[in-house]
Amino acid sequence: MKRLAWFLLLVSGCSKPLPEAEPLAFQSLGAFEYTDKMKLPGDVTRWNGKLVKATGFINPTSQARNLTSFLLVKDRASCCFGKRPQINHYIEVKLRPGASADYSNDPVTIQGILKVDDRWDGDWQLGLYWMEAAEVLK
């Protein structure tokens, strides 16, 4: 009986529809001039904790296959051909455990919970936008 109850609980949990991810345009994150430790605009903080899908480009490192984390940048120029990505122009993505992605210079869409968090390690800013347990949609 107890087992059946657990089974029913599990099934009802699994059948719950996943929340729809909101499409997030990079323009919404990067359309302001960032200064150190500033109060972030409401347009940006409103995304904190939301399930989003964002399309951008993988910033290349020397590893091309089996990436488990990477920076997702807003355009081809900042990914590959000379422009430096500004702190509010990329998301640091960590894929869900066991998942990996290969590098591509085509746009990719990533889905996950976005954290808007101005993280610092002493004098060094670690980043503004984070996505953990993310998955690559295409």
Partner: protein
Amino acid sequence: MILALLLLLQDASSKIAQEVEYANAKDKPQFHVQAVRKLKDRGGPAVAEEILKFCAARGHNALSIAFTEGLGTLKDDRITGLLRELIRDKDFYWRPTAFRALADLRDRASRDEFRAALGDRLWGCRAAAVVALERLDDRESVPRIKQLLGDDVYDVRAQAARTLFAFGDSSGLPVLVEALRANTVWFDIDYGQIAREDAWNFLKVVAKDDFGYKPWETVEERAPGLAKAEAWIAKTMPDWRDKVPEKARVRAAGVEYAFGFERRSCQRGDFFFRIDRDGNLVLGYFTLESATLSAEELKAFNAALDKVKTVDRSVPYGLGGCDFEQYYVRVGNRFEKLWIGLQGRPAAAEPFVRLVGDLLRKKFGERALEEFKQSSDLFRTNE
């Protein structure tokens, strides 16, 4: 007291070393800009010293692009000297950026090198050299800069036009007005839009009018604005169309392609060619040169390409980064891409690369072959 001072100095020195390290750390791209800013704010001889130490120990190619750019903000003779070394190092990844940094420093002693770089094989160096000569107010270079209005690459032509305008010479404006109609498409990348936006951004300031349109709108939406821009230039230059050099003229788009090869190399420059549906070998992506392949040549090409098609296209090959070659293989109505990074070219693609070299020499001469070959070895698998 002395001990405390020594400890302070030691602390500052280790902080500078860390900042130089972080400005170039391959696994911490998010730190590059911050570290450069910290070094710039700090300034002084100790920063220059640490940078030279880093270069001596790790070599030029350990420098990041952001750091190379940042060198242009450090006013120190030793840094200027380092930048001069970097522009002379033909194997340095970021030569165009080093040129721009040296331009920012307005290094008069490099004038002759800037002049020589107007003919550099990398378009980024040619464009940066034009900027540098503008900063030095080098009016003697005007005739040579005018020649660059007919360069193969839009960015160089546009920079030449802007620099001439800064020198009070409007003869480059027709090149920019023509670019408002740029329609170049490389498969799914609209290079035309990049040129349209760039030209529009400059002209709207010169004309004090945005011509009532946006360069990313559709052809139909842009049409009235383009007519307005052309009417604007015609007022002061009625024969402006005749002044657009051959290579800067926009050609009718719409050719269909059967195959594409794109090689982008930060280190050695770019190379593009396609095969169109009529079997022509078409070189370039903005300014195109075309040569017809004979039935025999086309057969040999397709046979070599068939071998390339056997390579699994669902994964990338070699090292990631800003040097890669990409093969656009037609599958039905769409193209699939085979991506190859440094040292990653599968053996099945080697005969294709050799055959392409032969065809380039035959159809376009040694210059085309040389351009193709200069970056080809980077992708060969190390055995």
